[in-house]
Amino acid sequence: MQALKRSLEILKSSPALFILLLGFGLFPIYTSMADLPFWNDVSMRIMLLGMAALGLNLVLGFGGMVSFGHAAFIGIGAYSVGISQFYGIDNGWLHILFALLFCAAIGLVIGFLALRTKGIYFIMITLAFAQMLYFFFVSLEVFGGDDGMGVDRASFLIIDLWDPLRLYYLIWIALFAVSLLLLLIINSHFGVILQGIKDNESRIEAMGLSALHFKITAYVASAAICGLAGALFANWQEYVSPDIMHWSRSGELMIVIVLGGLSYIAGPLIGAIVFFLLEEFLPELLYFIAPDYSENWMIIFGPMLIAVVLFTKGGLMAIFEQLHRRITQRQNTT
């Protein structure tokens, strides 16, 4: 009870996160009134992408480790569901447990090996591990290889997911829990030291702390969160294939984070929303201007991303923060 109270208390420290979570929670009411059930589906995709990006951001934004292989953990989470079902395990809670355990274990191994390197080497090693896992699943013919495997929406004991809204709220609760967890972590003893390592690793070492231990711990936690997102993703998509862990997905996660603002807890969620809206509407917009190019919406998105990075120095969240500051200043002066 105490913990819950503190969690809700701490939510006040990030109004943006609170508003976003509330927005996702109330969104189905809007879609049912406006009769746009398709948008529930979009919202679920955004929440899942946002959840994975939140997980990655623990190492990327708060730990300063540029991991270029986190899609692998989404994939492992998703395959945990598919493979469990293949062997007749239908309990969704067990699927999630497996996803968390496998991702944590594999995250521990990858983190242990990769975190001895820095900079470009770390990026390349994490990418290499992710590619290994990708081709491992491509080669697993039993589980569909390249073509992947079908997944039934799992049953979560009394709660089954025949009604899409139940899946929606399962994902929402998971997103809520992950957000709160991360908010608590980044404000915790562990979290401030992790951010200290990002700022200046040699000073943290000079305080008698082994930076590697903190980095590995963060890496494992972040892998597990991506695994959770992956397990829910399999339920949402009702299908898993190696495609989910393609390297471009890892890049997509990083883009989402950078777009939203990597030093903000709510950054990945904002990034996920904007990224999906752009992915949805930029092609249509482009179709009006230059129909032949409408598939290549990245042509416009690329420069937009660069502009955001160059001019905001902290993603979209930095813009919101500045706006907020200006408004409060104006209120104070009048």
Partner: protein
């Protein structure tokens, strides 16, 4: 009852053909300030790095309170009682002065793998952090970002972080570097006031400060000890005068 805190036995280290440390022997006792002086490039910082553990000697032994620590990592050496300030300020620039001290206090207490306990709002950590800043007189800048304070104040913060873990052996690499005259006096008096609490190895180019603070002085030139003794002995040593103090009589 003097207690030897640090003892170096025949430390040698080369960078290729360059001898940075040549059979160096040196000890620092508790409550004592041992100054290490010498011209630029003499190998002073290199020696500190070997004591701290970020560089390995090619040969020789490093003993901390009698224990051989040659093969331990820097962070473990800090936990065993070494505190270090860097020649170039090495603080957490993106954090406030108070947060810098608070993280050091957190590290000292060792309760670091706590994932839910809030750090920056913890009253006992905050008071510990304020204590640290009070020792160096930096409390008035608590809320400023470490990147925004003056150079001299950053030297103070650097010193504060070095002593925050209550080290038995304090390694100070040019604590006065770049500080103004007033600040230099301030930092010198802090080092003097704290000297009884640990063994201090002090590298410094400011000779006024060195002769004011040091109980013993070792002079290093091109990786070799050319003299070692009390301040009086050193100031009267002709080899030192010729090689370094250079007031050519």
């Amino acid at each position: 009852m003097t207690k030897v805190s640090l003892e170096l036995k025949d430390i040698s280290k080369s960078y290729g053909a360059l001898r940075a440390s040549h059979k160096l022997c040196l000890s620092v006792n508790k409550g004592e300030i041992h100054a290490l002086i010498g011209p630029n490039g003499a190998g002073k910082t290199t020696l500190i790095k070997q004591i701290y553990g970020s560089e390995q000697p090619d040969s020789g032994q490093i003993l901390l309170n009698g224990e051989l620590i040659n093969n331990t990592s820097p962070s473990l050496r800090v936990r065993k009682g070494i505190g270090r300030s860097f020649q170039i300020s090495n603080v957490l620039l993106g954090f406030t002065v108070l947060q810098n001290a608070l993280i050091a206090e957190l590290a000292r207490k060792g309760k670091v793998f706590r994932f839910f306990a809030p750090a920056f709002s913890d009253p006992s950590l905050l008071s510990g952090a304020r204590n640290i800043l009070e020792k160096v007189g930096l409390l008035h800048q608590s809320e400023k970002l470490a990147a925004e304070i003056s150079h001299g104040e950053r030297r103070l913060l650097e010193l504060a972080l070095a002593i925050a873990t209550n080290p038995q052996l304090l390694l100070l690499d040019e604590p006065l570097a770049g500080a103004g005259a007033e600040e230099s006096r301030h930092i010198t008096s802090i080092i003097e006031n704290l000297k009884s609490q640990h063994a201090t190895l002090l590298i410094e180019h400011d000779m006024d400060a060195v002769f004011k603070l040091a109980d013993r002085i070792t002079v290093l030139v091109e990786g070799k000890t050319i003299a070692s003794g009390t301040p009086d002995e050193i100031s009267n040593n002709s080899a030192v005068r010729n090689a370094y103090l250079g007031d050519g009589d």
